[in-house]
C-alpha cells in the first residue's frame, strides 16, 4: 500500500509526514515523529494516555488516523510549556504530587488544559467527570483533582 503524504501543524510547527492509511495518529506521533510524550495505554480509547488536541478538541490519538491530521492543528504534551517555563498545570501537578509513575501524566495534563479552556471554574464533580477518560492506577485521583482545582484558581487569576 502506498503511503499517504500528510501536511499538518503540531504544537504550532508546520509538519509533514508519510503514513499508512490505517496508521493511527498515535503511531505517527510516536514512531514517525519521535514525539513519545504521548503514551499508549490501551489503543482502544479507554485510558486517555494518548490524549492530544485536534483543532482545539480533546481526542484520543489512538482513535484518530494519521491521515485525518491533514490540515489540522495538533497539540501534544510537548507543546504545553513554553521554552522557559512550565505551564501552571504542570507546576501544580508537581506541587501537589499528582503523579507517581507518571505514565498517565502527559494525557492528564493535555486533558486538564482542554478542560480549563472550556470551563475555567469547574466544580470538583465537573473535573471528575471531565477527566473520567484519563485512567490513573497509582494515585486514586485525589491529588490530581486538587492540582486541577489549584491550577484553575491560578489561571483565573484568583490567587
Amino acid at each position: 500500500m502506498a503511503k499517504t503524504h500528510v501536511t499538518t501543524s503540531i504544537n504550532g510547527e508546520a509538519t509533514e509526514f508519510l503514513c499508512e492509511p490505517n496508521e493511527t495518529l498515535l503511531a505517527v506521533l510516536r514512531n514517525e515523529l519521535q514525539l513519545t510524550g504521548t503514551k499508549e495505554g490501551c489503543g482502544s480509547g479507554d485510558c486517555g494516555a494518548c490524549s492530544v488536541t485536534m483543532n482545539g478538541r480533546l481526542v484520543c490519538s489512538c482513535l484518530v488516523l494519521g491521515v485525518e491530521a491533514e490540515g489540522a492543528e495538533i497539540g501534544t504534551v510537548e507543546g504545553i510549556s513554553n521554552k522557559e517555563n512550565l505551564h501552571v498545570i504542570q507546576e501544580k501537578f508537581l506541587e501537589h504530587a499528582a503523579l507517581q509513575c507518571g505514565i498517565c501524566t502527559p494525557g492528564l495534563i493535555v486533558s486538564t488544559k482542554a478542560l480549563l479552556e472550556e470551563n475555567p471554574d469547574p466544580t470538583e464533580e465537573e473535573i471528575r467527570y471531565y477527566l473520567a477518560g484519563n485512567l490513573c492506577r497509582c494515585t486514586g485521583y485525589d491529588k490530581i483533582i486538587r492540582a486541577v482545582m489549584d491550577s484553575a484558581v491560578v489561571m483565573r487569576g484568583d490567587a
Binding site: L86, Q100, G102
Partner: protein, 750 residues
C-alpha cells in the same frame, strides 16, 4: 534516635527531581526507545485455554519477505531446574522458560507459542497467521475447587503436591499445601461463646498498570547485549535472561526505563528473552510492546481465591480461636502468593489459638504475578469480614473489638517471630478519632472498617554518591523508581550531607553502572535503598572532613560537620562542602561515597481503613461516599508520596472490592480483556481519599522508616464489602460487589 532529631529536609513536601521530565513528556518509558535499524517483534498466542502442541510449522512465516526472524521454545536452551527469590516471590526458571514461549502444552488462552520479527509492527502482526500450529485441544479447568478434585483435567503430568505428610504418587493440580499453627485450636473454639464461620471468594484481578510491558533489545555479534525494559528490577531481569538464554551475566547490560506502574507484576519477564532471541537471529535491534489485550490475557494477574474462615470469641470480646483454609489459584504454573496469605491473615490479632491451612492450585489462567502485598488482601479480606460480623454479633464496636485483641510489641505471630514495635493500636485510635467515624450515615448508606498487615522487606541495595568539582552530587542507585522514590533518596542524602536538595541529583543506573540492587518490591526501596543512601552520604561526609583536616593540618576528629560546612574545632576556621570539592584535586582527587548493604530490620506497616458507601437499591450500584486511610509510616520522608501510596492502595482495593474481575467463558477465554469492560476506578468513581499518617518509628532505620507501598491495598476489600453488607443488610462474601451481584443479593433477601 529518630524522635529526638530535628530534620531540615525529611518531612518536607519537595518537588520530585524527575518531575520536570514526567510533566513535559520527556521521560522515556518502556516503549519509548527506538534504535537505528530497529525491527518489531510480535507474539503468536494460544487460541485455546488448554491444549497439547503436536507441531509448530513456521516454514511459511520464515519464507515471507517481511519476516526477519521466527522463534519458538525450541530455540531456547533447555532449562531443567532452579530458581531464586524476587521481591517476596519465587522465580522457577523451568516454568518461566515455558511461560515466555510454550513447550509441548499451552496452559491458558493467550499463552505465547512463537514470535516473529519484521520491519514494521503491522508486518510482524500480519505474519503471525502464517504459522501453523497443530493442537490437541484439552478440557480446561478454571475454578480452584474444580481443579482440586482428583478427576480434574491435569495441567502438569509432573506436578506432585508438596507439603503433604506422605509424598503423593499421583500428579495433581495442587502444587503445595502449607499449615501454620499456634496454641490449641480445638480448645480455643471450645472456650468460645460466639463463633462465626463463613466462605469467601475473590476473583482473578489485574494489577492494571497503565503502561503495557515493553522492551527494546540489541544482541551484538560479539555477544554483548543490551536490554531496555520497563521493570521493577533490572538486575533480576539480567539474572533471569542469563539463565533462560544461557548467557554470561557479563554480556548483558539491562537498562531500566521509567516504569509506568508495576504493582508487583513487573518483577518477572515476558517479552525480554524472546526479543533478545529475535535480535540474535535477525542481527537487528528489536522492539516489542504488548497491547492492552495481551497485558490482560497473558501478564499479571492477581490470584483468585476461595477461602473459609472461622473465629470464636467470649462474650466479653476476647477472641479465643481463629481458623482459616485459604486456596489460591496460581494460574498455569505453581507459585501463587498462598504462603504470605497464610502468614498475614490473622497477624493483626494477638490471639492464643490459631490454625491456617493453605493450598496453591494451578488452573488454566495466566501465571499469577505478585500484586501489591501479594496474597494478603485476599486472606485478610476473609479474616476481617468475619471479625466485623463477630463484633456485630457480640454488640461491640468494631474498633473497640480490634483494640481489645490487637497485635502489639511482643505478640507471637503464627509464622515465627514476635512483633517488634508496631503501630496498629495507634492506627485504630486514629480511626476512632477520625471525623468520618463520628459522622452519621444517611439513608441507603453503610459503613465498613478493616485492618491490614504487611511484613515489608529489606534486602540488597547499592549506592554511590559522586561529588562534583562544584560541590554538587549525583546519587547513583539501582532501584527503579516506581512512585517517586528518587525524591526520598534526594531528601535523605541532603539531610545527612547538610546540603540543599537542589544540589543533589538522583539517578537510577543500569546494571553496568552500579552493583546489584534487589528488585523494587516488598515496599523495600525507601527503607533499604534509603539506608544505603544514608550510609553513602555518611561516607562522603567522612571524606570531606578528612580533606578539611588535611588543609588545616589537624586530625579528622578535630573537624565537625554541620549544615554542609566543616569547622576546625580548635581554630574556628570553616570550609564548606563546595569549597572542599572545588579544591579536591589538591587534596587527593575527587570524593565519592559508597554503600553496599543487605538491609535487615524492615518494620511491618499496619493500616486501618474506614469506608462509607451508598447503594442504589434499584440498580445495585455502589458509590464510595467517604473514605479514610490510616497507616503507620514509621517516619514519612516525603508526606505527599506517602499519602499517595495510601490513596493509590485504597483506590486499587476499592476497584477489587466493587468491580474488577476476569470474566471467563466456559472454554477459558477472558471475555473482558480491555479497560472498558475490566473496570478500574475512574476519577468519577471515587471521592477524595482522606489520609492519616501515623508515625511509630522503626528503630532499625536511621530515620525510623517503614515501607508504606503495599499495606494500603489490604484493608479496602473488607472495609468496602462490610460497608455494602451494612447498607443492604446482606452479607457479601463473594467479590466483587458489582451491581448485578448486589442487586441479586437485595432481591433474594426481600
Amino acid at each position: 534516635m529518630s524522635e529526638a532529631r530535628e530534620y531540615k529536609y525529611i518531612g518536607q513536601r519537595t518537588i520530585r527531581p524527575d518531575g520536570f521530565d514526567k510533566v513535559t513528556g520527556r521521560a522515556d518509558f518502556g516503549a519509548d526507545l527506538s534504535l537505528p535499524g530497529m525491527i518489531w517483534g510480535k507474539i503468536l498466542r494460544s487460541p485455546h485455554a488448554h491444549a497439547r502442541i503436536n507441531k509448530i510449522d513456521t516454514s511459511k512465516a520464515e519464507a515471507h519477505p517481511d519476516v526477519m526472524a521466527v522463534v519458538t521454545h525450541q530455540d531456547f536452551p533447555a532449562v531443567t531446574a532452579g530458581g531464586f527469590a524476587v521481591g517476596e516471590g519465587q522465580v522457577d526458571f523451568k516454568d518461566l522458560s515455558k511461560n515466555v514461549l510454550a513447550d509441548d502444552k499451552v496452559l491458558y488462552h493467550g499463552h505465547p507459542i512463537a514470535a516473529i520479527a519484521a520491519k514494521t509492527e503491522a508486518a510482524a502482526e500480519a505474519a503471525l497467521s502464517l504459522i501453523d500450529v497443530d493442537f490437541e485441544v484439552l478440557k480446561p479447568v478454571l475454578d480452584i475447587a474444580e481443579a482440586m478434585k482428583p478427576d480434574a483435567p491435569l495441567l502438569h503430568a509432573d506436578l506432585f503436591t508438596q507439603g503433604l505428610a506422605e509424598q503423593p504418587e499421583k500428579a495433581s493440580n495442587i502444587a503445595s499445601r502449607m499449615e501454620l499453627k499456634k496454641g490449641d485450636i480445638e480448645a480455643g473454639f471450645a472456650a468460645a461463646e460466639v463463633i462465626v464461620e463463613r466462605d469467601f471468594s475473590t476473583p482473578t484481578v489485574h494489577q492494571g498498570y497503565i503502561e503495557p510491558h515493553a522492551t527494546t533489545v540489541r544482541y551484538e555479534a560479539d555477544g554483548q547485549s543490551m536490554v531496555w525494559c520497563s521493570t521493577q528490577g533490572h538486575f533480576d531481569v539480567r539474572a533471569i535472561i542469563s539463565t533462560l538464554l544461557s548467557m554470561d551475566l557479563s554480556k548483558l547490560k539491562v537498562i531500566a526505563s521509567e516504569i509506568g506502574g508495576g504493582f508487583g507484576a513487573k518483577t518477572t519477564v515476558y517479552l525480554e528473552p524472546v526479543a533478545l532471541m529475535l535480535s540474535k537471529k535477525s542481527g537487528r535491534p528489536v522492539k516489542m510492546a504488548m497491547t492492552r489485550e495481551e497485558v490482560f490475557r497473558a501478564s499479571g494477574p492477581g490470584s483468585a481465591t476461595r477461602s473459609r474462615v472461622k473465629i470464636g470469641a467470649r462474650k466479653d470480646g476476647t477472641i479465643t480461636a481463629m481458623k482459616a483454609e485459604l486456596n489460591y489459584a496460581a494460574g498455569a504454573f505453581k507459585g501463587s502468593p498462598m504462603a504470605p496469605g497464610c502468614m498475614t491473615a490473622f497477624t493483626p490479632y494477638d490471639v492464643e489459638n490459631m490454625y491456617v491451612e493453605g493450598y496453591d492450585v494451578v488452573v488454566n489462567k495466566p501465571k499469577a504475578a505478585a500484586y501489591r502485598a501479594p496474597g494478603a488482601p485476599q486472606a485478610e479480606f476473609a479474616a476481617e469480614m468475619v471479625i466485623n460480623e463477630l463484633a456485630d454479633e457480640l454488640g461491640i464496636d468494631p474498633i473497640e473489638f480490634r483494640l481489645q485483641n490487637a497485635a502489639k510489641e511482643g505478640t507471637q505471630t503464627i509464622y515465627g517471630p514476635k512483633l517488634k514495635v508496631v503501630g496498629l493500636v495507634e492506627c485504630l485510635e486514629a480511626a476512632k478519632n477520625s471525623p468520618q467515624y463520628k459522622q452519621a450515615l444517611a439513608e441507603n448508606q453503610g459503613r465498613g472498617l478493616a485492618s491490614g498487615f504487611w511484613f515489608n522487606i529489606g534486602g540488597q541495595s547499592s549506592v554511590v554518591i559522586n561529588m562534583k568539582p562544584d560541590g554538587t552530587g549525583t546519587i547513583i542507585e539501582g532501584s527503579p523508581d516506581i512512585g517517586g522514590s528518587r525524591a526520598s533518596m534526594q531528601m535523605m542524602a541532603a539531610e545527612e550531607l547538610g546540603i540543599d536538595i537542589s544540589r543533589l541529583t538522583p539517578v537510577v543506573a543500569d546494571t553496568e553502572h552500579i552493583a546489584y540492587s534487589a528488585t523494587t518490591g516488598g515496599s523495600r526501596t525507601t527503607f533499604a535503598t534509603g539506608m544505603a543512601v544514608i550510609e553513602a552520604a555518611q561516607d562522603v561526609v567522612r571524606q570531606l572532613k578528612e580533606r578539611a583536616a588535611a588543609v588545616w593540618n589537624v586530625t579528622a576528629e578535630q573537624v565537625e560537620w554541620e549544615d554542609g560546612v566543616a569547622t576546625n574545632v580548635a581554630s574556628g576556621e570553616k570550609l564548606s562542602a563546595t569549597e572542599i570539592c572545588q579544591s579536591a584535586e589538591k587534596t587527593g582527587g575527587q570524593v565519592s561515597g559508597r554503600a553496599n548493604i543487605n538491609a535487615r530490620g524492615a518494620g511491618p506497616s499496619f493500616a486501618v481503613h474506614l469506608c462509607d458507601v451508598e447503594v442504589d437499591k434499584e440498580t445495585g450500584k455502589t458509590d464510595v461516599v467517604r473514605y479514610t486511610a490510616i497507616q503507620d509510616a514509621g517516619k514519612a520522608i516525603h508526606p505527599s508520596y506517602v499519602e499517595g501510596q495510601y490513596q493509590g492502595g485504597a483506590a486499587q482495593g476499592i476497584g477489587w472490592a466493587l468491580n474488577e474481575e476476569y470474566i471467563y467463558s466456559e472454554d477459558g477465554v477472558m471475555e473482558n480483556a480491555g479497560f472498558l469492560d475490566y473496570r478500574i476506578p475512574l476519577s468519577s468513581d471515587l471521592p477524595m481519599i482522606e489520609t492519616v499518617i501515623v508515625e511509630v518509628p522503626n528503630s532499625f532505620h536511621p530515620f525510623g522508616v517503614r515501607g508504606v507501598g503495599e499495606t494500603g491495598i489490604i484493608p479496602p476489600l473488607a472495609a468496602v464489602a462490610t460497608a455494602v453488607s451494612d447498607a443492604i443488610g446482606v452479607h457479601m462474601g463473594d467479590l466483587p460487589c458489582s451491581p448485578p451481584k448486589v442487586l441479586k443479593a437485595i432481591q433474594d433477601a426481600s
